[in-house]
Structures are given as structure tokens and as C-alpha cells.
């Protein structure tokens, strides 16, 4: 065989053996995120849910308050009511769409805000240590020891219940966990040699916190943010249960579930309206699950050392 054949073969092998060079961190994160099937799936489902709740109501003429008295407790696939109706003849599909707007907004907003506050407190506390740490952590202890529900009841009595108040309460009482988590991480990152070496290179404290410490806690923070989002969606429903959450007739996934509880053993007429619990429950379930998938994928993608097994 001619010599050039071997030469070409060698070039080919060399080409294959050369490590892939990735141009930037952002590109690396995106490449890895794309290869994380579950996270991609989670992202697609969440976008789907978001579109469903945001755009869905535009395509139906019925509002969430409209009642169809000829159809009380009608099961799914009844004419005009694909998800059935509830005890007042509200269309469940429409209420799930409107309720999703509220649940997603409450979940997302309180997750973002608690994570933000918790991360800032944790960074300051862990990095500066000493008196700053002691003050902030004692404040966290105080906040943790305040019983949430009596305060909630008082607040709703004073300010009334509404989405903003719920978000306010969930964030005021929700950031402490993140701050403790972040503080613990920062305590160990602060002592690492790369932070020491950044200091020896003359990097300012502020820059060390933002460029060297923060990026290293972000993967964990993201996971805890997704957990917070799940928690907030569920907490909103338990607040509704106490009559402190979103008030009917305005729907949220939480208060739909809570009202369905009354009929969980069946109605006076003997039917068991399972669709009242299954549909909002299913949406809470897939949202929380996929938020967690997404968070998992983001964490793996943000850590350059992590190489997926697939």
C-alpha cells in the first residue's frame, strides 16, 4: 500500500486522539447541559407547563369563576369539560391553568428571593467570620425559632391574604436554610489554597468573594433553590389549607387540592370525584419533579470536573 495511506491514517488517529478544546466556561456548561438527558427533559416539561398556564387561558372562553350548574361533579371528558368539574361546576382544566400561574409564580419568586438572601448572608458570614458571622448566625437562630404560623395568622389579619403577602412570608421565613448551607461551604472554600493564592496575588476581598468563592457554591445553591421552589409550591397549598393562602374563588394548585380534600371519601351523592385531586396533584408533582431534574443537571453542568457517565 502507498505510504501516504499510512500518513493519512496517522493524521486521522491523531485528530481523534486530540482532546476536545472548549472555548469558554459558558460553552462548556451548555455542552454538558445538553448531554444531560434528564435535565433537558425537565427543562422541556417546565417550559411546557409554563406555556400551558400562561397561554392556555387565552384559548378557552370560560373563566375560572364561571360556573356550569348543569354539570356539578361531572367526570373528565364530559362535553366541554375535559378535566371534569367541581362541586360548583367550575371547569377543572381552566382552574388548573389559572392556578398554575399563581403556584408557579409563588414558587419561582420565593425560591429566587430566598436563595438570593440566603446566599448573600451565607457568603458574608462564612467569609468574614468573627463578629459578622456571630451576629448573622444568631439572627438566623432567632428567625428559625420564631413559630411561623402564629406570625402568619397575624400578618394575614393585618395585611390581608394575597400573592405578595404569601411570597413575603415564605421568603422572610425561608432563607435561613440556604444561608447556613452557604456559610458551611464558604468556611471550607475560604481556607482552600486557591483562595489563599488569590490573596497572595493581590486580589481584593470583594473580588475574591464574587469571582472565587461564589462560583464554587453556585452548584449547591442551585440545587437548594430548586428544593426551595418545590417547598414554596407545597407551602402555599398548606397556607391555603389554613385559609391564609390564595383565597377561593381564585384558584391555586394548592387550594384546589385542599378543597378537594372535602370529597376525598366521596360526595353525598355517592360519587368519588378523584379528578379534583388528581389533576392539580399531577401538575404539582411534575413541576416539582422536573424542577429537581433541572437543578440536578445544572449542578452537574456548572461543575467543570464533573464528567457524565453516559
Amino acid at each position: 500500500m502507498p505510504k501516504f495511506f499510512y500518513k493519512r491514517k496517522l493524521d486521522e488517529i491523531e485528530e481523534k486522539a486530540r482532546p476536545v478544546h472548549i472555548n469558554s466556561y459558558r460553552q462548556l456548561v451548555w455542552t454538558k447541559f445538553k448531554s444531560h438527558k434528564l435535565a433537558l427533559f425537565g427543562a422541556v416539561v417546565l417550559i411546557g407547563v409554563a406555556f400551558f398556564t400562561l397561554l392556555g387561558p387565552l384559548f378557552v372562553e370560560v373563566g375560572y369563576e364561571d360556573m356550569d350548574f348543569s354539570n356539578l361533579f361531572s367526570p373528565p371528558l364530559t362535553e366541554g369539560h375535559p378535566f371534569g368539574t367541581d362541586e360548583l361546576g367550575h371547569d377543572v382544566l381552566v382552574r388548573v391553568m389559572y392556578g398554575g400561574r399563581i403556584s408557579l409564580f409563588v414558587g419561582f419568586a420565593s425560591a429566587v428571593i430566598t436563595t438570593l438572601i440566603g446566599t448573600i448572608v451565607g457568603l458574608l458570614s462564612g467569609f468574614y467570620g468573627g463578629i459578622v458571622d456571630r451576629l448573622l448566625m444568631r439572627f438566623v437562630d432567632v428567625m428559625l425559632s420564631i413559630p411561623m404560623f402564629p406570625i402568619l395568622i397575624t400578618l394575614t389579619l393585618v395585611f390581608g391574604s394575597g400573592i405578595m403577602n404569601i411570597i413575603l412570608v415564605l421568603t422572610v421565613f425561608g432563607w435561613m436554610g440556604v444561608s447556613r448551607l452557604v456559610r458551611g461551604l464558604v468556611l471550607s472554600i475560604r481556607e482552600t489554597e486557591y483562595v489563599m493564592s488569590a490573596r497572595a496575588m493581590g486580589v481584593r476581598n470583594g473580588r475574591i468573594i464574587l469571582r472565587h468563592v461564589l462560583p464554587n457554591v453556585i452548584p449547591i445553591v442551585i440545587v437548594s433553590a430548586t428544593l426551595n421552589m418545590s417547598y414554596a409550591i407545597l407551602a402555599e397549598s398548606s397556607l391555603s389549607y389554613l385559609g391564609l393562602g390564595i383565597q377561593p374563588p381564585m384558584p391555586s394548585w394548592g387550594n384546589m387540592l385542599q378543597r378537594a380534600m372535602n370529597y376525598i371519601l366521596g360526595t353525598t351523592t355517592g360519587t368519588n370525584p378523584w379528578w379534583l385531586t388528581v389533576f392539580p396533584g399531577f401538575f404539582i408533582f411534575i413541576t416539582v419533579l422536573n424542577v429537581n431534574f433541572l437543578g440536578d443537571g445544572l449542578r452537574d453542568a456548572l461543575d467543570p470536573k464533573f464528567v457524565s457517565e453516559s
Binding site: 482532546p19 478544546h21 472548549i22 472555548n23 466556561y25 467570620g129 468573627g130 482552600t192 489554597e193 486557591y194 489563599m196 493564592s197 488569590a198 490573596r199 497572595a200 496575588m201 493581590g202 486580589v203 481584593r204 469571582r211 472565587h212 462560583p215 464554587n216 461543575d303 467543570p304 470536573k305
Partner: protein, 327 residues
């Protein structure tokens, strides 16, 4: 030779639960341009905090003694504001750390990390800084630097990472380089390469260098002068030939004797001599000579604090055995 660093009567204390402890006291030395000083001693002798004190990187509970004076290029380090210090760190004085595996931030490419130094100290924009970083990587002998800059620390071997650290440290051609056990974590062949590289670069930039190590081999390879430290004090100092050819302090002799020698034939093999015991904890330094409990030649006089005794040349030793010898 132009003196660039003068450390006078260095005393470092810590406030701890045990009360005040003073792991380093009475350490004085100086350094001229282009000179290499080795600080050698066992673990826990105070070598590393001595080095850290020069750029004020001590932990928060540490403080310097009243008579301590550290002068860098004629300026007293202790009077500098933290902004002035930040300008010195990484530009005029830089450090190479012991652990190349953990000294680089895992989240950034090595190019980003080297260019951070340029962006901070020379105000270069991203592209210019990256160009200089590639140059610097080429200089420390990293093949295909334009590709390597885009890699993350975990994609490099230990030796490569240490080269990157050296590149970062020398990026702004500092006047003083402090290398804290630069080769301890590397295997022997890589050690030799890294030492050779450091020798080459320090001659090129005529950087004054302080090398902290417990490896006398590294000292022999690199240094002009040596400080032997024990329990926070200098016990012997001199030029490299004095220390290796005519060691005086029993501790120095012990260190030299405990270097393993490669002997294959049975009759040449001797049991490796060791120095018995451990370095005492700073909270319980013995009275008098601190080496006394471990010293094979200790006598009654050693219960008193030995002074630094000047021998011929710049060779001096802290040991009563040499009292009145050449004074």
C-alpha cells in the same frame, strides 16, 4: 548587591485558647536582588508563617512583635495600607504554594487565572492579558500554550499545574518570589524539572527567591544561602557550602545525616539515622536551648538560652558548643 528585603527580629504570636503562643521569634534575615535563600527545617518549625508574614497573609488571630520590622525595598510593610499591600502582592512579591492540585480554582481555565494577574496589576484588557498568559505558559515550558490556556486545572497533571502556578507567580516579574515547598507534592523526575525551570527563570528575571522546604536536596540544587530553622528560631545560617560541608549545629548535622543514601550492596547499607523525638509545640518550647531534649550532645549549659554565635564569614550558629570558638 541591592538589598530588597530585610526582616529584623521577626516575632509572630497567636491568640489561642491556650493563651498567647509565639511559634516564631527572633528571626532575622535579608535578601539581595537575584539571591536565593533557603529556609529548611522540619514540619512545624515556623517556616511557612515566616514566609506568609512577609506579605501579611497571616491568620486573623496572629500578630507581630513590637520589635519586628519587615522592610521591603526600603518600605516598612507594617505601615502599608491594605490597598498598597494588594498592589505589592502578586506584582512585587508573589508566592508559589505547596499543593499544585488545589492551588488553582477548579472553575476557571488556567488562561483566565493567569490573566487575572495581568488584569489586576497591569490593567490589561482580556485579549492582551490572554496573550501575555500564553507567552508566560510558553516560558514555563507548557507545550501548545494557546490550546492549554483554555483548559481547566483538572485536565492538567501535577507538574503542569505547578508550572502554571510558577507562571502566575512570575507573570508580573516580581522582585521577590516566595516558594513554599514548591516541589513537595511532585514526584522526583517532575521535581527536577520544576527546580530547573525555577532556576532558569529566576536567573532570567533576576528575582530574589525564598525557598521553604524540608528537602535538603532542593536547597542544594537552588540556594545561595540557607537558614536552618528549629522551633521558631534560626539555629544556623550560612552559605550553602558552609551548611553542607561544615554543619555546626547538632540539628543541622542530624538533618544532613537523615538524608537516605542509595546503596545497593548489603555491606554499604547503614541504618538511616534519625533525630529522635518531635518538634515541640509552640505552647511548650523547652527553656534554654529549644533543641536540648533531642540533642545528642546536650550539656548543663544548654539550660540557658544560647545566643547566635558568629563563626567565620557569615556562618553563624545558635549553640553553646561553639561558644568562644572564633569570637
Amino acid at each position: 548587591m541591592e538589598r530588597i528585603l530585610e526582616v529584623d527580629n521577626l516575632e509572630i504570636s497567636f491568640r489561642t485558647q491556650l493563651g498567647k503562643i509565639t511559634p516564631v521569634d527572633g528571626v532575622s534575615f535579608g535578601l539581595s536582588r537575584g539571591e536565593t535563600l533557603g529556609i529548611v527545617g522540619e514540619s512545624g518549625c515556623g517556616k511557612t508563617i515566616t514566609a506568609f508574614s512577609i506579605i501579611k497573609l497571616l491568620p486573623k488571630n496572629a500578630f507581630l512583635g513590637d520589635n519586628t520590622k519587615i522592610t521591603f525595598r526600603g518600605r516598612d510593610i507594617s505601615t502599608l495600607s491594605s490597598e498598597e499591600l494588594q498592589k505589592i502582592r502578586g506584582k512585587s512579591i508573589s508566592m508559589v504554594f505547596q499543593e499544585p492540585m488545589t492551588s488553582l480554582n477548579p472553575l476557571y481555565t488556567i488562561g483566565w487565572q493567569i490573566s487575572e494577574v495581568y488584569r489586576l496589576h497591569e490593567g490589561l484588557d482580556e485579549d492582551a492579558a490572554m496573550k501575555r498568559s500564553i507567552e508566560m505558559l510558553r516560558l514555563v515550558g507548557i507545550p501548545e500554550p494557546q490550546k492549554r490556556v483554555k483548559e481547566f486545572p483538572h485536565q492538567l497533571s501535577g507538574g503542569m499545574r505547578q508550572r502554571v502556578m510558577i507562571a502566575m507567580a512570575l507573570a508580573c516579574s516580581p522582585e521577590l518570589l516566595i516558594a513554599d515547598e514548591p516541589t513537595t507534592a511532585l514526584d522526583v523526575t517532575i521535581q527536577a524539572q520544576v527546580l530547573e525551570l525555577m532556576n532558569e527563570l529566576k536567573n532570567k528575571f533576576s528575582t530574589a527567591t525564598i525557598i521553604i522546604t524540608h528537602d535538603l536536596g532542593v536547597i542544594a540544587e537552588m540556594c545561595d544561602r540557607v537558614l536552618v530553622m528549629y522551633a521558631g528560631q534560626i539555629v544556623e545560617s550560612g552559605d550553602i557550602f558552609d551548611i553542607f560541608d561544615k554543619p555546626m549545629h547538632p540539628y543541622t548535622k542530624g538533618l544532613i545525616n537523615s538524608i537516605p543514601k542509595i546503596e545497593i550492596s548489603k555491606k554499604d547499607q547503614k541504618k538511616l539515622s534519625v533525630i529522635d523525638g518531635y518538634v515541640p509545640h509552640p505552647s511548650s518550647f523547652p527553656d534554654g536551648c529549644r533543641f536540648r531534649p533531642r540533642c545528642p550532645t546536650a550539656f548543663e549549659k544548654c539550660l540557658e538560652k544560647p545566643p547566635m554565635i558568629e563563626s567565620e564569614g557569615h556562618h553563624s550558629v545558635r549553640c553553646w558548643l561553639f561558644e568562644g570558638d572564633d569570637m
